[in-house]
Subunit: 402 residues, 3 copies
């Protein structure tokens, strides 16, 4: 066939509309099955995909998020005053902030030599030769000098080490728990921004006065836009005892979830808070949260430090968010998918029709038009063969693969 | 039917090819509608899905990102020199860094007793009985001793508290703003890595000399690979006045966006910066950014602190990235979806055909072959019935659900 | 047509089942092509989509992650003891922690006037008029006073500046590298939580004793649930020399990957660690990791600082995770997609059939039933025309678009 004829054919046939020929089976049972399965699929798409999953919306997750945290409150612990500068670290107010609830303080440590702690492996000694000079035990406090010395004001001896002296295990003073911290508040400001939709939301209400913000406490019914949380409230919501946290420390996640349907009124897009302890629980080998830091002084030119082991409540603020807005493209795509899925029912019904209902092979003969090229040169003959020449044609089974 | 026959039938029919019978409607109007809607869908897929959305690419978002920040510059503020160690916190150079632009310094605070600030609720007093001993007000500075004392060198009295004395509200010295910080620079090194494609990119050009990196300033045309940003430039790009930031502080997001088409030359994959203020704006109750920290000294064995309320510019570096590369699988999947979607046009055209065009029911009779099992035992009879026995058959409507 | 009739028609036709009429082509070649392509598609969906990509599972990525880091170990560097409080910063134990491996210490800096470093642009001078008072060079150390002074104990002169004196470039003491840090350990506790599946996993084994956790070291075969990593191990796994890191510093990413198939036993969901250097490599202009901080002292009321330039190993812990669990909805959706895709084969085979096999136009005549409305008023006539009146009909080509 020449190229010219080919193009002509294309042009002639181009404006034809092609549509499949359909066989209509007037069978009540099958019709009911067909409609019920169709109904199920349509219900699924309408209810689950469109209403529940909001498939008609374009969505955006992982908004840009800004967090600013700050602790407030002051209390007396033993003889010292604990204010925000003392118990809250780090000061810069990022998404992780901790309040020190209990301290073990080792004051006046200087670089020098002193006795190693007796629980360190091979630290107990009776004579100098028990102590290998230069040895540094990983769980110990420093490097051994090779001498065996009296363990502070006790009667037994341990190896002498080069270290910050006196060692923490001997000299640490356990301070009182800061139980009043249950009433301290943490301000958690959070602003999110969905770049695709150009929508920004904050967990601080814009209309309220500065005074309201300073004095309010978060309440999930009455004060949803107040970002001040009592430490006790956070612990309680996370299912933890505050007194327990004071002892061992702990890390609590404050989850802020923004689920915004931008087709509704913007005021419907509210922060939802949840609280959960993140570190491992009690009765577990390595629970709790503590860290060490030091304050440095100069004593006649010598560096002196106060080493503090701080047990505290660390708050990790974690923000999740998603926004959705009506958009024509996902709507079309999901409707096409829905319609295609509805079409799949035919596959099931064809199988039922040809396997269970079509006892007399009436339907399969009408549905399937078998063509064996070698046996028929005119279409007429083929039709004849189909309808009459084969009195008992093999029943056509539905395609096992499609 | 026996199992043997079933298997034989399967085998016989297995190599048959089945294809739907098609009715070709030579109607120009319908043909044009059919082709136009097809064209729209094909255009949508070609232009939007394949060209604009790059559906032929496998994509990866959320690359592994490394950020290192460091501030540079020194200036005189009042009588003191502010260098990077003084104004930049925290020092470790993570994704959040802040420059202190103004300080309110409360020097020489010691633990002791002094007068509470007069603005604290119920702090004003005339006699000792006005002050409840042990009471700690959340917005106050410490615990009341129960005495009513003179408010520093003023003539009125307030309740005495156990606290770090003197209190900040009375003793804080407001230092000058560090306006020269407008010329300080922040180095923001960022390296990203797409694990799936094994591609790593950096915002620092590899070929440049160490000297270039120390002296250049970012410019979005000439110096795109120079990672030094003037603080003034960042403020300006975010639409903020630097002098305003010096007063109240503020948080500015530096967004680095990597949009990499890996089918193109690697040099096309460039960082794109944008800047936006993240905290709430002025005229809002709680705008700005400040935090408190202290420096500790020892005075004859007593701990003394200098408490600093720092107003500054916090810079949050936020990295987004996505990379795409041609892949055969998404290409096939999206082409299948496209072809399926084109098929959906038939649904629309069938409806038009049978409702508006098919006045004489010629098409519906040809398209639909109704079979009522009880009324026909030979296919022949059924055909007859269809074509002649029903002179005015009800017009077949398109299926309302599919 | 009246509304009543319309409704009646709808009701009558509603329970009909419609199925396309199919032409069965008994052609071995085409049948084989058809089945092979079908097999390819089915194999692709079975193997790639269902088995490899686990399309039958509902999945969740980006779990909530909690990280706690802490360094352990002590060593002598020169004459001073370095313990965790000294070399590990920041102390709070978040996802970024650094160990200081080398220091350049500038002790006893005070605010005052001294000579600028000679390498700063235009700092060299011979007379006072060479120095512009008030000038602050960005790469310099302070503000010029306008005087030209002797450069410390050297014979040349530079401009005098108001600064922290003496300047770092002159007075810094380079301390020894902390090579023993190769044996220091970092504890990296990580707990993840998949909210959708309510599954939480930790990289610390619950059953082990406290003693095991204190003494074990991570090994990817024997101690997969021990979260203590030697710094030397981390450097080695990242392909870096520890001695090199001691010189220039560097940032190493510790990637924890959780790939959880929740259909299997929970113990199969294990953390997988990988290590990679994140900052740019050696031979590059700006490699390494260092930062400056200061310790403050008071000397007779004057503030004195010890400025430390710390070169260290920063460890960024980055957690990835994904979990999957069998779910009926994605299974159905993907099976529908698979079946639809299999149907697309028809498009290919129709094209082959009509272009290459159908030499005598037997198939196209049977497949396509052309209807020209103006030429036929009874279906009978139309059939006649199709079969006989057109002795050489133009061969129908497959639709070029669908």
């Amino acid at each position: 066939m020449g190229c010219k004829v080919f193009i002509m054919q294309c042009f002639v046939g181009f404006w034809d509309y092609e549509t499949p020929k359909i066989m209509v089976v007037k069978n009540m049972t099958l019709g009911i099955i067909y409609r019920i399965v169709q109904l199920l699929i349509v219900t699924y798409f309408t209810w689950y995909v469109f209403i529940s999953q909001k498939a008609y919306q374009e969505s955006e997750t992982g908004p840009e998020s800004f967090i600013y945290t700050k602790m407030e409150g002051a209390a007396i612990s033993g003889d010292t005053v604990q204010d925000t500068v003392e118990y809250s670290r780090p000061p810069e107010g990022g998404d992780v902030i901790s309040a020190i609830l209990r301290k073990e303080v080792t004051p006046n440590q200087k670089q020098g030599v002193c006795a190693e702690h007796f629980a360190v492996p091979k630290a107990n000694c009776t004579k100098d030769s028990d102590c290998i000079p230069g040895r540094t035990d990983m769980s110990g406090n420093g490097q051994r000098t090779g001498r065996c010395v009296q363990y502070y004001n006790f009667t037994f001896k341990t190896c002498e080490i080069k270290s910050w002296c006196p060692i923490e295990e001997f000299a640490a003073i356990r301070e009182l728990e800061l139980k009043e911290a249950i009433n301290f508040t943490v301000l958690i400001k959070n602003t999110i921004h969905f770049p695709k939709f150009r929508v920004a939301k904050s967990n601080v209400m814009r209309k309220r006065s500065k005074y309201y913000l300073q004095s309010c406490h978060y309440n999930e019914v009455t004060d949803i836009y107040c970002p001040n949380f009592k430490l006790g409230y956070i612990a309680e919501q996370a299912g933890e005892k505050f007194s327990e946290l004071c002892k061992t420390g702990g890390v609590i996640g404050v989850f802020i979830n923004w689920n915004c349907n931008l087709d509704l009124d913007p005021s419907e897009c509210k922060p939802k808070y949840s609280f959960r302890r993140l570190d491992l629980r009690k009765n577990h080998a390595s629970s709790g949260y503590n860290y060490r830091f030091a304050k440095y002084y100069s004593e006649n030119g010598t560096e002196v430090r106060t080493m503090i082991k701080a047990f505290g409540m660390r708050i990790d603020v974690i923000v999740h968010g998603q926004a959705g807005k009506f958009s024509i493209i996902p709507t079309i795509i999901n409707m096409v998918t829905a319609l295609t899925s509805v079409g799949i029912v035919s596959f099931l019904c064809d199988w039922i029709l040809l396997t269970f209902i079509d006892k007399d092979e009436v339907y399969s003969e009408k549905k399937f038009d078998e063509i064996c090229k070698h046996s028929s040169h005119t279409p007429d003959m083929d039709i004849t063969m189909n309808a009459e020449a084969e009195p008992t044609p093999l029943r056509k089974l539905p395609d096992p693969l499609f």
